[in-house]
């Protein structure tokens, strides 16, 4: 049988992802995580010396801490199975990627295992974040220099 013909049969019989259902679940989980973040930010603004602008730093750290606990107790993968991108896109998903890789590679030791593999999933996000920031900031700086735009 030809590959094209098989691809057709396979496509016909394989289940399609329930996109509408997945989207709704991603919305609910993602929205809830951001809402929790908003409450944590409020906590830092009310009880500590943070402004609305600076509160996002401790908020992010707290969210990653919560992600560590959920990952360690085996709950984050269940949230992610339900919520899909709703669990992957918030910063807690970044935390889950780092913590899960660390836990998994503990068996190879803290230097080669945890140290060497901590960023094996999250590393690409850092790479592309840093590189795109570099390019964007570079372009902006040059444009400002030539007086095209202002800061």
């Amino acid at each position: 049988m030809q590959q094209e013909k098989y691809a057709q049969i396979e496509k016909e019989l394989s289940p399609k992802p329930p996109i509408m259902k997945n989207v709704i679940k991603a919305f609910l989980i993602g929205g809830s995580i951001c809402l929790i973040g908003q409450f944590i930010a409020l906590f830092y603004i009310t009880y500590f010396d943070f402004t609305e602008r600076t509160a996002s730093n401790p908020t992010v750290a707290t969210m990653i801490f919560i992600a560590m606990l959920l990952t360690g107790f085996g709950l984050y993968k269940k949230i992610a199975q339900f919520g899909g991108a709703g669990a992957a896109v918030p910063i807690t998903g970044f935390g889950n990627a780092v913590v899960s890789a660390s836990i998994e590679h503990k068996s190879e030791g803290y230097v080669l295992g945890v140290g060497g593999n901590m960023f094996k999933l999250a590393g690409s996000v850092i790479l592309f974040g840093v590189f795109s920031a570099f390019v964007v900031a570079l372009i902006k700086t040059i444009l400002v220099k030539f007086g095209v735009v202002s800061w």
């Binding site: 929205g31 996002s56 107790f73 899909g84 991108a85 807690t92």
Partner: protein, 120 residues
């Protein structure tokens, strides 16, 4: 005051919906999806849209991974404004250091405390 909670829920949820569509419709892997969103966040800050977006949506804009791209770019641009071209490199992690350092610290603590469980 209450409205920021509603907007953060809706806006944060919608960014995740974009991520879900990238995975289910565009068939990107989770890693490709997250990288794309980070780049989008970075570009949006370059054209000056992300900061007003944070004012509008609060945690709905700062919790999704797009804000990571925004924060990196924001730090780089702020330093470039003060010190010129070299600031693009030196200012990169000025704003976003908390996310990275928290991930590293809690990653190691997580490894110390937990082992993985193949449960369902």
């Amino acid at each position: 005051m209450i409205s920021i909670y509603i907007t953060s829920f809706i806006v944060g949820g919608l960014i995740c919906v974009i991520g879900q569509l990238l995975m289910d419709v565009a068939k990107l892997t989770p890693a490709h999806t997250l990288c794309s969103l980070v780049v989008v966040g970075s570009v949006l800050d370059g054209i000056g849209w992300y900061e007003p977006f944070i004012d509008f949506a609060g945690a709905g804009a700062t919790i999704p991974i797009t804000s990571f791209g925004n924060a990196l770019t924001h730090g780089a641009m702020a330093e470039a404004e003060r010190h010129g071209l070299v600031g693009v490199v030196t200012g990169m992690f000025e704003v976003t250091s908390s996310g990275i350092s928290a991930a590293i610290i809690f990653g190691l603590i997580g490894a110390l405390l937990f082992t993985s469980k193949g449960n369902i």
